[in-house]
């Protein structure tokens, strides 16, 4: 290379100060559609855990007026009438498809922040224009089958707003660049404050008191009363609306590092023994997950929840955590601790809706040096057995019914009430050899 004397830190990549927000359209429905051609052009909805509410709607379902978050039982009639296809959520599939989309985005730009399973902020390189965004959109669509919308702007708040505009206005072809918009103020004028990212109801009420109703009002507002009434958050939004970036791209995930496993019960659970069984399953899943990433947990938390929507029933939401004697990913060790915690928080006489476990303060297995006098020298042996079990379950089972389970997890046929309802679960098309999509040829 010719630049022998140039040190790495001196190499500057020309960066623009523009960001893009890429958001997958109706992500869960789109994932189902990629692997099932019979879903193309028909209304599709995906349900929350436990098949309770509608959490993703295809455009056709939106056009039929199916509301977001609606309980399934309220929509039975419209579903039957229009032949809406209904799916339980398949997070294994959605997680895999999300990873594919994110990896394509990561390869296209200098930096990305994965904001949620279906959204990412991108730092755009200099010269990356609307045309490049359209190419990127086309690539994600061709490679994964997932349609996305892209909003480009100089700040996160404006990128979010541009993305929303691209999504709502089909003429944009799902890409909108705020920085080259002909009439940016006109767009802000037709956006109400309540539609801005991060503006909840109470915030928009306080804005309204200041006479700020639209995003344009907000942009032109006097910062002094905004700060006085809304504090630093309001001031930051004001700056972001004016194109001054205050929200940095966070390439690292949030600081609370942990794995959580929890699920709502199909029907309320009262007995300790049933809670134990459900919790053991959650611990097993969470432990398997951290082992897959070569991690150990140093902290474990267990929680119980009653159904807060049942105002007529007594409510109880205990959480208790403890730091483990030594970092571990051993299912049996984690289960023992989780059981202890569960016993300490369990109170009879409540109808529990949910239990779960959180493994936190994760450290790498490689980095952890057990002390020479560590009482738990058997830990590594136990971990090895766990890993063999993981491998067998991965190869032979499907995600929902492992081949090898612990006695404490109970038997599937024991008919306990806690097993999650997932009656319309699609196959794990991309992660399980037995469930690949099939072509009749």
């Amino acid at each position: 290379m010719g630049c022998r004397h140039l040190r790495h830190s001196q190499i500057r990549i020309a960066m623009s100060d523009r960001l893009a927000l890429v958001d997958c359209n109706n992500f869960f429905c789109s994932c189902e559609r990629v692997f099932d051609p019979s879903l193309v052009g028909v209304p599709v909805v995906v349900l929350s855990n436990n098949d309770g509410c509608i959490i993703s709607r295809s455009q056709e379902a939106k056009d039929l007026g199916v509301p977001m978050g609606a309980p399934l039982h309220e929509q039975k009639e419209v579903i039957r009438k229009h032949g809406i296809r209904v799916f339980s959520s398949n997070y294994t599939l959605y997680g895999d498809m999300s990873a594919r989309v994110m990896s394509i985005l990561r390869d296209a730009v200098p930096a990305i922040e994965v904001y949620s399973i279906d959204e990412a902020f991108l730092r755009l390189p200099a010269g990356f224009d609307e045309e490049n965004a359209r190419e990127l959109r086309a690539r994600v669509l061709q490679w994964t089958g997932i349609p996305v919308c892209i909003g480009i702007a100089s700040t996160k708040l404006l990128a979010k707003l541009s993305n929303r505009y691209a999504k709502k206005n089909r003429g944009t072809g799902c890409v909108f660049d705020f920085t080259t918009a002909i009439d940016p103020d006109g767009l802000l004028a037709v956006t109400s404050c309540g539609d801005l990212w991060g503006v909840a109801k109470n915030l928009s009420r306080r804005l309204a008191k200041l006479g700020i109703h639209t995003a344009l009002d907000f942009r032109l507002a006097d910062p002094v009363p905004v700060r006085r009434s809304l504090g630093v958050i309001g001031e930051r939004m004001l700056r972001e609306l004016n194109g001054i970036s205050c929200l940095e791209l966070e390439e690292m995930p949030p600081s609370r590092k942990g794995v959580m496993a929890s699920r709502s019960f199909g029907s309320p659970v009262e007995e300790l023994v049933d809670l134990e069984e459900a919790l053991a399953n959650h611990v097993a899943r969470a432990a398997e997950k951290i082992r897959r990433f070569g991690l150990l947990a140093t902290h474990l938390e267990v929680f119980l929840q009653t159904n807060r929507f049942r105002k007529d029933e007594p409510q109880y939401y205990p959480t208790r955590g403890m730091t483990l004697p030594a970092p571990t990913a051993s299912t049996s060790e984690l289960m023992a601790t989780a059981r202890e915690l569960l016993h300490s928080i369990y109170r009879p006489g409540y109808r529990y809706k949910k239990t779960g476990v959180m493994l936190a303060d994760l450290v790498s297995e490689d980095a952890y040096q057990p002390s020479l006098f560590d009482a738990s020298s058997s830990t590594s042996k136990r971990l090895d057995i766990d890993k063999i079990v993981d491998e067998i379950n991965r190869r032979m089972g499907d995600n929902r019914t492992p081949v090898i389970t612990r006695a404490s997890m109970g038997m599937e046929s024991s008919g306990k009430g806690w097993k999650m309802r997932a009656e319309r679960h699609s196959p794990n098309y991309t992660t399980n050899w037995q469930e690949l999509p099939v072509a009749k040829i």
Binding site: P254, A439, I441
Partner: protein
């Protein structure tokens, strides 16, 4: 289940120690030790673009002469744009099919690799969507 990954490791902690198989106390070390290169990873060899690669199982005989038989698993790379004579997965009338993609004089149609199956000419209201291009087939012999 939510997963947050931890901070990246210090580079020193992830340094790998090379693995040596021959015992030092048993005479000569194996001459092969200098040539250890790990193992063949089929996934790496066959899948050029993981983000766009998928697998699909076939049922049926229409591609028999192309070596695709019932029960085979096909590797599909969606990042490849099909050209004449590629084997493709296509969506027709709400179903997946696997056929040979043909493009002759600007006209696109699908061809079976079995003389008992006529070529698929698309009707007025039929839309051909190529789902992906088949790159490899996996057939079980034993």
């Amino acid at each position: 289940m939510e997963l947050f990954l931890p901070e990246p490791l210090d580079p020193i902690t992830i340094a790998r120690i090379p693995f040596v198989t021959a015992k030092v106390d048993a005479g000569f070390p194996s001459p092969a030790d200098d040539h250890l290169e790990g193992h063949i990873n089929l996934h790496e060899e066959l899948i050029r673009n993981p983000a766009s690669s998928f697998m699909l199982r076939v049922k049926g005989e229409s591609m028999r002469e192309a070596g695709i038989k019932t029960g085979d698993v096909l590797l599909i790379d969606r990042s490849i744009t099909p050209v004449d004579r590629h084997t493709v997965v296509a969506m027709i009338d709400g179903e997946f099919t696997v056929k040979r993609f043909r493009k002759k004089a600007g006209k696109v149609f699908l061809e079976a690799a079995n003389t008992e199956f006529p070529p698929i000419q698309l009707g007025e209201d039929q839309e051909l969507v190529v789902w992906g291009v088949v790159t490899y087939g996996i057939h079980k012999f034993a």
